[in-house]
Point group: C2
Chain length 441, copies 2
């Protein structure tokens, strides 16, 4: 039975996919949105889950809650494994079945990026990355457990590597994480331990680039670096990491002993280019045309971090704004085509600017010619991020949490939860040289 | 080096252990509080995490955040494995070391209960219980995934067992879970699916007892049962479960096909009785004296669910109020002994009453001769539970969430998060006869 309206399959419920689905809200089409999680993740605040400020539910909104009331939209929890361009089908693993074909008339791939260890995948075991809620909860466990393990260890000479936190990569995620860990230590944990002084913990931020926050101006990079250093973060630039293992990292020939190394460096695009078997740029992002379609396939669109498009001779950056604007454009274009209207002009990205938080009450902000750092930039950052949260209820709850954390230092979700069944509700203990001896004989 | 003040070891950061620690706040003693998680869990609201209303951070408060500012208290994340009464030491697994002795002058065991499958441990795999935050998140995943799997399945004949939820045990947890699932289905999910009608889901509440909510009066049991039935819950009493397996349950010879069975029945005490090698009651709870100490050991106290004490010829119930009052009593008694004051009179439980929620805006309440059901009881329930949350910030955030959920039906934390590393961020798929076929050819 042929459907009477065209079918649009959108893969990915991130910023790009959701924007596309919303743009098609009133189009006479059958939308299928496929995602491998049940939630839209507000990635810009993921570091706040990893550092206990926010709970997962405050930045993860059920995709059904956002577009499920759109009557033309079906949401499917499943993982896409391939695309058959000739038969116009995507293959989906869903429930217990694998490679089930879902046919499409139009396809929008908005499948984002994952971590990249630049060919050193063996680092992953020791330096987890931060892309999903599960990642954030795992890193939160790791950070909080390091303090717990040190406190359980009465011999202070054994505290050093437990209380050293290394962040590999000084882009926005690394800078924001480093600042948030510094504030966690100084404001939240300071009075709660007896055998360790959380404030003495060492936070090291590494990058092979010569400055932090590469996408920002040199002046803002410097402001961010100085702010980090005033929070006690050691910023080491100009050297890549030679080694990451159970004992820590090696950088510029020096070993830094650490039990908590976090990967905040590279990303790699999703396999969309492989699925489509079309031209990609060097990192593997699909080269798209000015209308965001794939060359030779006007029915296939690729948007967001997994797409490669130049504007004014420069590639568009992998940020939420690009994904949202591209998703909206692709949705509108399909809507116009379905209803027989003329195609819009080529896609053009409107840069609304770039921001990053450093610690508490301080951000850097770059909008066109406006460069700003400090408290006002932080207020702007907070306002913009609240505005872009998907649900009104989350805006309220995140706002309240931020005010509370700002005033009291208390965090919203400082939990170690080990999700390996009730039997093993004991913390997962790592091979750290720590222990506990009675202090009285 | 002998400590100059006595050392009090408290095992367990639940209601009993925390009350004891707080009661010892101003006592010249060295307190060590050991728990195997980093958080105090507000168990009465655990079912709300399992049904997506609240997030884990709203009912789990870091123990350090509660007692860590008490200068005489050290908090240790570790798991107790035994007690040596002669040497006055508890054995603790902490960080990477096992069976590390922690000496005590006074010991308070407040180690609570775990699930009991009444000798049918093979049920656990198919019918998880609800005791920890990890359990609640696992059950939340299971419930939400059942709807996702059914929606991914276009053949409606395959929806039946996915949309059948069975709760084994009609005590407070079972009744509250059943009501919360019913409201989830009817208020939150109703408009968001295309292929299934969440409202058609079947919720079955089983118990071998002749009525629900055993500890309440018959009249309130009946009110709760009628309320559940008005929400569409099938209440089946008077028969135990014969079998639980991957296909569902067998009760009174009838098989109920279900992919989501939840164990809300029995509990078993912690191994405190085995550690101490002292007399226990039949379920294994330590028989304690009227001053809560263990016979022959005036320096060891057992409080809460893992202790057995009769009052007026009846055993005290395993509820939070008993644990809190006993913990406070044990703490005070030790404080008086340490400061050379006379011992207080024997422990006496003051029953502040019992409540349970059924669905939305309805509770049953029994305080002495006052028996109440309906909206007013629900308001009382909400007020009392808010009051007993450990932190002021949680009172605010839980209150706001409840009001929001009450008004909009939206829940605070409707997430499927699989905590098995980023690689497997794909949902854990169970062997359910579901799948997806293209609806257009």
């Amino acid at each position: 039975m042929r459907e009477t309206v065209p079918r649009v399959v959108i893969v990915g419920g991130g910023f790009g996919g959701l924007a596309a689905a919303r743009a098609l809200k009133n189009t006479p089409a059958n939308l299928i949105l496929v995602d491998r999680t049940n939630h839209h993740l507000f990635q810009p605040l993921l570091y706040q889950v990893a550092t206990s400020v926010l709970s997962p539910g405050q930045i993860g909104s059920p995709i059904r809650g956002i577009v499920g009331k759109q009557r033309n939209t079906t949401v499917i929890l499943g993982e896409v494994t391939g695309v058959d361009k000739d038969r116009q089908c995507v293959s989906v693993n869903s429930a217990d079945r694998t490679d089930v074909p879902i046919p499409y008339d139009f396809l929008i791939l908005a499948t984002g990026v994952t971590h990249s260890y630049f060919g050193r995948d063996e680092f992953e075991k020791f330096a987890p990355g931060l892309k999903s809620l599960a990642d954030a909860v795992a890193i939160r466990n790791k950070i909080l457990q390091a303090f717990e393990q040190a406190e359980a260890e009465e011999d202070p000479t054994r505290h050093r590597d437990l209380l050293t936190f290394v962040l590999v990569g000084a882009g926005p995620t690394g800078v924001e994480m480093a600042g948030a860990i510094a504030v966690l230590i100084r404001n939240t944990l300071k009075a709660e331990f007896r055998r360790i002084t959380p404030g003495s913990a060492r936070i090291v931020l590494l990058d092979m680039a010569p400055r932090v926050l590469g996408p920002f101006s040199e002046e803002l990079s410097l402001a961010a670096k100085e702010r980090l250093e005033s929070l006690g973060v050691e910023v080491r630039l100009g050297h890549g990491v030679d080694q990451i293992d159970a004992d820590g990292v090696v950088v510029a020939g020096e070993r830094i002993l650490s039990k908590t190394v976090i990967w905040t460096a590279g990303v790699a695009p999703s396999p969309a280019g492989k699925w489509l078997n079309v031209g990609t740029d060097r990192p593997g992002r699909v080269r798209i045309q000015p209308d965001l379609s794939v060359p030779g396939h006007p029915e296939i669109f690729v948007v967001g971090d997994t797409a490669s498009l130049d504007q004014d001779g420069k590639p568009l950056p992998g940020v939420a704004q690009v994904a949202m604007q591209q998703g909206r454009y692709a949705g509108k274009l399909i809507g116009r085509r379905v209803t027989g209207k003329s195609a819009p002009g080529p896609f053009r990205y409107f840069d609304k600017g770039n921001m990053a938080v450093v610690g508490k009450g301080f951000a850097v902000l770059q909008i066109g010619k406006v460069h700003l750092s400090g408290f006002i930039a932080w207020l702007a950052w907070a306002a913009v991020h609240l505005q872009f949260l998907a649900q009104a209820s989350l805006r309220v709850s995140v706002f309240v949490q931020w005010v509370w954390t700002y005033l009291t230092g208390q965090r919203g979700s400082r939990l170690i939860v080990n999700h390996y069944g009730a039997e093993q509700s004991k913390p997962v203990i790592e091979a750290a040289p720590v222990g506990m001896t009675p202090s009285s004989k």
